[in-house]
């Protein structure tokens, strides 16, 4: 392969570093109205009176919007395919506010200062209601967060708002109670994960205008432009054909921009005033008023034989979706569906529980999407079991984990909000990943720990993980390839580059299929008027699903070119040889350049263009083993991460350097969740960690060594053997770090993040017990 599996520079990095106009706000009209939102100071309240006359009278204020300006048409901001597996439980504006930061009203004014002044002039009287702030008490609480009658589910997801349920779910394989009873060794433990923030560095940004044809044109920093167009149309009852959504360059998303953000407000302002409008979330709004990772509690039981054969996994899980149910069910299900099949030899599995509403910032899609929560619980518990059995965790995993050609009944039972599909592991190099990681981290020399002197211990820990490659039978992607004169190509894709490099790797796939070089393929992504359908950048779907669409289009275009040459030569297409540059048949020869110019200007004139679609029928999981070496100080509880080793099976890497970037970025974000990114609410439901000073993401200082390797792997169903790689990196750090801390100093942290305070406290407890 000449272009694929090559570490080529990204197609766009240079222009971005040079500071070229590229991101959403760079495209805002200079005279845009500034849209600002009045946000609720109460975690739960009813708006009893709202008077906007003073605000409207202020010079420079164009428009004030309240719930009275919108029809009561519930929708979901989730940004998923239709019908969505998320409840339709949100109104653009409502007479209830359900968390601190929720939307109470909006203004559009000539500048920021005027808009902010106007917000203060809105007279609003709240009837403050008692909130539900503890998700463990939300189910069947007497306080009901969504009493409104209009809200509904699109199909059964266990939605029951009278019980504060956004969704609920139950599955089982075999008889878990019986398996547990028969197990010689059982462990039981609860685990808690927290509401990690995405902290994409570009805040949610959107702007709108009416173009000269009277169409609403929106530039949005989004992962799902085509869904966004549909959702705007449905929520505002505005014709789909009159909306164009353009996704320019996006400054990071990580799932946070799968959901709709300010689009409804700028669209409404532009529709009502005819004027351009723009909105940029402040960092505080990004923290308080966008989305976060669903916090979960796992009550986990594992049963095994005394020689270490895992027999049963039993999990009762409660997930906190906050005030609205975006991704409530699907994130919940992934916590098992993309975790539990790792141990496919068990007799029985049970996974059930509730996704509850609370008066907190809503949960939403976030890289890892439930798998990171499930992974922390299961992979921590597996190590606890190993300890109890006195078996090396590596040995235990080799014995119990999923292997190539095998399957798990879970694949068939659990899909995206419904049933899944049966799937055998055509590629699974987990065995290699664990073996290689074991060598790279020097497990043998360190496990479980080494005393370094001065109260410091070195320890190692590990975890294994899997993810998916798109959502089978739901995700569809398509790609258009157009041949231009001079023989270069346009590649039009609905796939959404949000920084993960899809414009580059999809161009690589196209170039490989067309037999050309990367610079001869010009990618253009995500403009609902110009590019073909793609569900968007989520569920690790781009490389596998969109990549397959591009591969198909590339092959078909290649054939079209050969067919045209055959006509020129007056031979059969089979008799044409083509290397991507020159077409030959016997004595006859024509270059692609000549042929394409001929097609444009001289003979057989036509435009060669092809659109191909791909619809996944399976979702081959990428796998990885994560190993970490830490130094833990028993005096201070401080943990230093010395090296994080990742060995990943994502099939062929289309671009090994960019794939490595995906893994490393995921690892560091996972380390952030595991160690540094604490989420603190006051007792009154106010988010304290609502800026980058209080919410600490890893900086250059915290990250020492990252060692990242790929297993030799070829997934036949993937484009050139590839699986996806966008999410898998984030899954292992929480469990691997918890296990490493345990191995180093003997305390087990079961509530994220793993802070020095928790370690010290646990050490103290332990001393007391000894």
């Amino acid at each position: 392969m000449k272009v694929v599996n090559q570490a080529l520079p990204s197609v766009d990095g240079k222009g971005l570093m040079m500071g070229k106009k590229a991101y959403s706000d760079d495209y805002a009209e200079p005279n845009s109205l500034i849209v600002k939102v009045l946000r609720s100071p109460h975690p739960y309240a009813k708006i009893v009176k709202i008077d906007t006359t003073k605000a409207e009278a202020l010079d420079g204020v164009e428009l004030v919007l309240t719930y009275k300006d919108f029809d009561r048409r519930p929708f979901t901001r989730a940004g998923q395919g239709y019908p969505e597996p998320s409840p339709h439980d949100k109104f653009v504006l409502d007479n209830y506010v359900r968390y601190i930061g929720d939307e109470a009203a909006a203004v559009a004014a000539v500048d920021v200062r005027t808009a902010e002044k106007a917000l203060k002039l809105i007279d609003i009287e709240y009837e403050v209601l008692e909130p539900v702030l503890d998700f463990e008490t939300a189910f069947e609480n007497k306080i009901i967060i969504h009493p409104e009658p209009e809200i509904h589910e699109m199909f059964p997801i266990g939605f029951d708002p009278k019980k504060n349920l956004a969704a609920s779910y139950h599955m089982h394989v075999g008889d878990v109670d019986k398996s547990l009873e028969e197990s010689e060794v059982v462990i039981e433990q609860s685990f808690y994960t927290h509401a990690q923030a995405h902290v994409m560095i570009e805040p949610h940004t959107v702007n709108s205008r009416m173009d000269y044809q009277g169409r609403l044109v929106i530039y949005s920093s989004t992962q799902t432009p085509i869904h966004v167009r549909r959702i705007i149309s449905q929520a505002l009852d505005y014709p789909l054909s009159k909306i164009r959504v353009i996704k320019p360059r996006v400054g990071g998303g990580f799932g946070g921009k799968q959901q709709v953000h300010g689009e409804m407000f700028v669209a409404t302002v532009t529709i009502k005033t005819g004027k351009p409008a723009k909105m940029i979330y402040t960092r505080k709004e990004v923290f308080e008023s966008s989305y976060s990772r669903h916090p979960m509690r796992f009550d986990l039981k594992l049963g095994s034989t005394k020689d270490g054969v895992l027999k049963a996994i039993d999990a009762y899980v409660v997930s906190d979706t906050g005030a609205y149910g975006e991704h409530a069910l699907t994130v919940f299900m992934v916590a098992a569906a993309k975790v539990f099949p790792l141990y496919n030899k068990v007799d029985s599995v049970r996974f059930h529980g509730n996704v509850v509403y609370t008066n907190h910032t809503p949960g939403g899609a976030y890289r890892g999407y439930g798998a990171i929560q499930g992974n922390f619980a299961l992979e921590s518990a597996i190590d606890m079991l190993c300890h109890k059995l006195d078996i090396d965790p590596i040995e235990f995993r080799h014995k119990n984990m999923i292997k190539e050609t095998e399957t798990s009944p879970i694949f068939k039972i659990m899909g995206e909000g419904g049933e899944g599909i049966e799937m055998f592991m055509d590629t699974c190099k987990l065995d290699y990943c664990v073996k290689r990681g074991y060598e790279l981290i020097k497990w043998k020399d360190i496990y479980p720990n080494k005393y370094l002197g001065n109260s410091k211990y070195k320890g190692v820990g590990m975890a294994i993980a899997m993810q998916g490659s798109g959502i089978p039978y739901i995700d569809m992607a398509s790609a258009t390839i157009k041949l231009n004169d001079d023989g270069f190509y346009n590649l039009m894709i609905g796939a959404t580059d949000i920084g993960q490099g899809s414009d580059t790797i999809l161009s690589q796939i196209a170039a490989e299929a067309l037999g050309t070089t990367l610079d001869n393929v010009i990618p253009y992504s995500s403009d609902t008027d110009l590019t073909p359908f793609d569900t968007g950048a989520y569920a690790s779907s781009t490389t596998y699903v969109s990549g397959n669409a591009v591969l198909k289009a590339g092959k078909e275009m290649r054939q079209m070119i050969i067919n045209e040459a055959a006509k020129v030569f007056n031979v059969k297409p089979e008799d044409v040889e083509y290397d991507g540059v020159v077409l030959k048949s016997g004595e006859n020869e024509i270059t692609l350049k000549e042929l394409s110019n001929r097609l444009y200007y001289n003979e057989d004139q036509k435009q060669l263009q092809i659109t191909s679609s791909y619809y996944g029928t399976k979702s081959p999981p990428p796998f990885m083993a994560g190993f970490v070496e830490v130094n833990v100080d028993k005096e201070t509880g401080e943990v230093e991460i010395v090296d994080y080793v990742s060995v990943v099976d994502c099939g062929t890497t289309i671009n090994p350097m960019l794939a490595k970037g995906q893994v490393e970025g995921g690892i560091v974000q996972g380390i952030g969740m595991a160690m540094y990114e604490e989420v603190i609410y006051t007792k009154k439901g106010k988010l304290v960690t609502n800026d980058l000073m209080n919410y600490r993401i890893p900086t250059r200082r915290e990250i020492n060594k990252l060692t990242t390797e790929f297993a030799d792997s070829y997934e036949k169903s993937g484009p050139y053997g590839a699986k996806s790689v966008g999410e898998i990196g984030i899954d292992t750090p929480p469990a691997a770090l918890a296990n490493a801390v345990y191995n180093a100093v003997g305390v087990r942290i079961t509530t994220l993040p793993i802070t020095p305070e928790k370690i010290l406290m646990a050490l103290k407890e332990k001393e007391k017990g000894e």
Partner: protein, 150 residues
């Protein structure tokens, strides 16, 4: 209020309010390399050089820039291009939102520290948050770029 600032070598006059921030004044003048990330001096994507020193334009009032020399990466295109080549080869490009400010910070570091060690680079870049890359590839690219200068 009228202020005069030298931006990338050109004398500019801006009409600003007393509470306008430099970030907004410059972006309104189509200087797109500087971005908004946090408005609390925490992320570094709004970095500009003021008389050669890296500062956060999201918290500097435009009036405070009166009479000073402001440089953005628009004023160091060649350097940005060169660094970006190393970024490309190291796979250090992701969303790119932090990249222009990073290039400018590297420029400032070169002015300030003669032969920066690994630790120097690490410390110097602590203020430039990146949520995409995990920093390692960026660091490699910057190092190679500095070696290239020698």
């Amino acid at each position: 209020m009228r202020i005069n600032i030298e931006v990338n070598g050109n004398l500019k006059t801006y009409d600003v309010a007393p509470d306008d921030y430099l970030l907004d004044t410059l972006r309104a003048d189509n200087i797109f390399s500087i971005k908004r990330g946090c408005e609390t001096s925490s992320c570094g994507v709004c970095t500009v050089l003021m008389d050669g020193k890296a500062v956060q334009s999201c918290t500097i009032l435009s009036v405070k820039a009166e009479g000073h020399k402001i440089t953005t990466i628009e004023g160091h295109q060649k350097e940005a291009k060169k660094l970006s080549e190393h970024f490309g080869h190291q796979g250090a490009d992701q969303c790119g939102y932090c990249n222009s400010a990073l290039a400018l910070t590297v420029h400032a570091m070169k002015d300030e520290i003669k032969e920066p060690t690994n630790e120097d680079i690490k410390e110097y870049l602590v203020g430039n948050l990146c949520r995409c890359t995990g920093y390692e590839a960026q660091h490699r690219a910057i190092k190679l770029c500095l070696e290239d200068d020698e």
